[in-house]
């Protein structure tokens, strides 16, 4: 992330892997063209640094036992299908960009998430450490 410029980074997370099911070949072809143009345009403007689609399969690792389970991705409105990494002026700009997603027309949902400078937990730890240090040397 740029420390010196006034830009901020955002992740666009594309949610839902069922919106494309009922589409006709003609509709799918249109979304492909539109999405490509959108992605290419953003990259050309330097606003998008990259993006990827994610495969539908996946695993979820959780718990103390570190159990591995199959991801609940079949026919899900929440499953993340892909992402764009944006670097733009502010959240409003990221939102305006997100509104142009060609999948929205058919039920896809776009989540706009600011990329955090520093992990908030880390920040708390650092603050606490700094405080402790201050106390110790006071």
């Amino acid at each position: 992330m740029n420390a010196t410029s006034t830009k901020s980074d955002y992740l666009l997370l594309f949610r839902g892997n069922v919106w494309d099911r009922g589409l006709s070949p003609a509709q799918i072809q249109k979304v492909v063209s539109d999405w490509m143009a959108w992605f290419e345009g953003l990259k050309a403007e330097g606003k998008c640094l990259g993006g990827h689609p994610l495969e539908e399969r996946g695993k979820v690792v959780s718990g103390k036992q570190r159990t591995v389970a199959d991801g609940p991705f079949a026919e899900s409105k929440e499953a993340i299908g892909g992402y764009f990494y944006l670097t733009v002026a502010d959240e409003d700009e990221a939102i305006e960009i997100a509104k142009r997603c060609p999948g929205l027309e058919y039920g896809s949902v776009v989540e706009v998430r600011p990329v955090a400078d520093v992990c908030s937990i880390r920040q708390r730890v650092d603050e606490y450490s700094t405080q402790q240090l201050a106390d110790a040397t006071a």
């Binding site: 992330m1 980074d9 992740l11 997370l13 949610r15 990827h52 689609p53 994610l54 495969e55 399969r57 996946g58 695993k59 979820v60 690792v61 959780s62 718990g63 103390k64 570190r66 591995v68 991801g71 929440e78 993340i80 992402y83 990494y85 959240e91 939102i95 997100a98 509104k99 142009r100 997603c101 929205l104 027309e105 039920g107 896809s108 949902v109 776009v110 989540e111 706009v112 998430r113 600011p114 990329v115 955090a116 520093v118 992990c119 908030s120 937990i121 880390r122 708390r124 730890v125 606490y128 450490s129």
Partner: protein
């Protein structure tokens, strides 16, 4: 891609435990980084907006899912196989505190065409000569 969920896992921990865990997590990241396995990673702010509807007319505050399911960060991992990626995920120190890690393969570029560009080009030419009549008609 590894997606980390459950950003408020730190609640209820003593600050000592927190410090230790954070150190472990940092070490985990650094270890992976040194082995060249991290292509990119960021934590995500708990805020954000969710956009839906034609032309994105519905803009709602907050991430898409409830807090405990919300994505708190991501890591793009370079791994030899999907199974390896899952194994890496299993070593994350925050798992014992309720963080779950979703492992999703990133769809690679069409391997076919990357591997055999000259073959594909020839096939493309042949296909053009056997084109459907109406396609030329429509001109």
């Amino acid at each position: 891609m590894l997606l980390f969920r459950g950003p408020h896992w730190d609640q209820g921990l003593s600050t000592d435990e927190l410090q230790r865990t954070m150190d472990n997590i940092m070490a985990w990241f650094e270890g992976l980084n040194e082995r060249g396995k991290i292509k990119g990673a960021q934590p995500l702010s708990a805020q954000g907006r969710t956009i839906s509807g034609t032309n994105g007319r519905f803009v709602v505050d907050g991430p898409f899912t409830e807090t405990k399911e919300a994505v708190g960060g991501y890591l793009v991992l370079q791994a030899d196989s999907f199974e390896d990626a899952v194994e890496v995920a299993r070593t994350n120190p925050a798992l014992r505190y309720g963080v779950s890690v979703e492992v999703r393969p990133i769809l690679a570029e069409c391997p076919i065409f990357a591997r055999h560009p000259e073959i594909v080009r020839r096939a493309g030419e042949r296909a053009a000569s056997v084109r459907d009549p109406w396609a030329t008609m429509a001109a």
